[in-house]
């Protein structure tokens, strides 16, 4: 029914409907991705984040919350400098992780 106006869609994440296939595929290929504890070191040191909003922490979180478009936008801003890998306290090879992610489509299939 058209009331002539509409309500903004909810910004709430419904985990019952989130498609985590890309994240699951990433974790299969590089299991360390699961050990992120969200400290934010990667984002703080990121060369690109200041103007692009790139954040490895947010990429990993976005994948688990079904925000694929946002993830791709961030990935495209990465310059692969590898500073995030140097600072990660959990020793996650974030640079390798980004390269792996770029090979996966949203269904978690290896396409490149």
């Amino acid at each position: 029914m058209d009331f002539g106006y509409q309500i903004n869609p909810s910004s709430a994440v419904n985990l019952d409907q989130v498609d985590r296939r890309r994240y699951d595929a990433l974790v299969r290929l590089s299991p360390d991705a699961a050990t992120c504890m969200g400290c934010g070191s990667c984002s703080a040191t990121c060369t690109s984040s200041a103007w692009s909003g790139m954040s490895v922490r947010k990429v990993l979180l976005g994948l688990q919350r079904g925000r694929d478009a946002e993830v791709n936008r961030m990935l495209s801003a990465c310059m692969l400098c590898g500073k995030c890998t140097m600072v990660c306290p959990r020793g996650i090879n974030t640079r390798q992780l980004i390269l792996t992610l770029c090979r996966l489509d949203k269904n978690g299939e290896v396409v490149r």
Binding site: S10, S11, V13, N14, L15, D32, T35, M37, R65, R90
Partner: protein, 340 residues
């Protein structure tokens, strides 16, 4: 070995009381254990496995029980009241007898927070909401119709802990690691289940705890969501809908679960407060008994001859409790041998 035979009463025969009794016996004393329950072992005896080695709790309580079998133990017995005399304490017991002793050890332990007080979590209202204690009972007996091959399981940290409104501003300390242990055990039982832990902070301070966390993430795929659960509702099919804020994402989050486990926290034992007040032993503002100081006299009270061991002074892990029980036994030994 002492030349006289003083009487030492130990209130509570959980692991703190048992370990202290074992050590005092080894020093040549004849302590008396007073336990209100029909069995010894306290909370730990009800637990299935212990972090961080996943060792059965029976591996700890079994030998402790065996090695204190010769200690005079009064089961089903409560302390009705305590009188402070000049250098002694007189305990009136629930069976009508009295016990004159030269030293009293409080090993009165803790109470598990009553999760039904946090009504918004629905314990006692919704069928699929259980507590950490219920889950441990299930690990022990595998007899609970609420746990039937769940596909999605949630753990809520800090239930009744770090909650000023619930009267417990303090952290219960052991729930983070217990939640991770139980989450791993659920994954071992039901490998297909998605498991979510809702936490405010993960406080994994102990040896091997952080390794446990990494294992839960990497080897078991347990999802950690930073945010306190705000409300739980029931879906038409009887499952529970959990709402929280995903604070790392800054967005509300909801998920439907087959089972929700509330990590009920450690709160003070009101009996211990009652006894302490009777004999002028200080109680701290968190409700736990107040140590002479919190650095090098944790097992000593504000009164000569009254000692503490274990979680009567605050949340403790099993190894901390055992270490305090040994320390308290030595403090009692020194107290009784002090030249007067």
């Amino acid at each position: 070995m002492v030349n006289r035979q003083p009487v030492i009463s130990i209130i509570g025969a959980g692991i703190a009381g048992l370990e202290a009794a074992r050590q005092l016996s080894a020093l040549g004393y004849k302590p008396v254990l007073i336990e209100k329950a029909p069995v010894v072992g306290g909370h730990v005896a009800e637990w299935n496995r212990l972090f961080p080695d996943m060792s059965p709790s029976e591996d700890l309580t079994g030998p402790l029980r065996a090695q204190t079998a010769g200690v005079r133990t009064l089961l089903n017995t409560e302390v009705a009241s305590i009188n402070r005399l000049k250098d002694e304490y007189n305990l009136i017991l629930s069976d009508g007898s009295s016990l004159l002793c030269q030293a009293v050890l409080f090993a009165t332990g803790f109470h598990l927070f009553d999760a039904s007080k946090k009504e918004e979590y629905g314990y006692g209202i919704y069928d699929r909401v259980i507590t950490n204690r219920d889950l441990e009972a299930w690990f022990n007996h595998k007899d609970d119709r609420r746990i039937d091959h769940p596909k999605a399981v949630g753990f809520v940290h800090c239930v009744g802990s770090r909650d000023v409104k619930a009267g417990n501003a303090q952290c219960s300390k052991v729930c983070c690691i217990t939640a991770i242990k139980e989450a791993i055990e659920i994954k071992e039982e039901f490998p297909d289940a998605e498991v979510y832990c809702f936490y405010m902070d993960l406080r994994l301070f102990g040896k091997k705890y952080e390794d446990f966390y990494i294992k839960a993430q990497r080897d078991y795929g347990i999802h950690f969501i930073r945010g306190r659960v705000s409300e739980v509702g029931e879906a038409v099919d009887g499952r529970v809908v959990v709402k929280a804020e995903d604070t790392l994402n800054g967005k509300p989050i909801k998920v439907t679960l087959d089972l929700l486990v509330l990590m009920a926290g450690i709160v003070c034992n009101p009996d211990a407060q009652h006894y302490a007040r009777e004999i002028g032993v200080a109680v701290d503002d968190d409700g736990f008994l107040k140590s002479r100081n919190n650095v090098d006299a944790i097992t000593e009270s504000s009164r000569p001859g009254v000692f503490f061991a274990g979680s009567c002074t605050g949340a403790k892990t099993v190894p901390e409790t055992l270490a305090e029980a040994r320390s308290a036994a030595l403090a009692i030994h020194q107290y009784l041998n002090k030249p007067r």
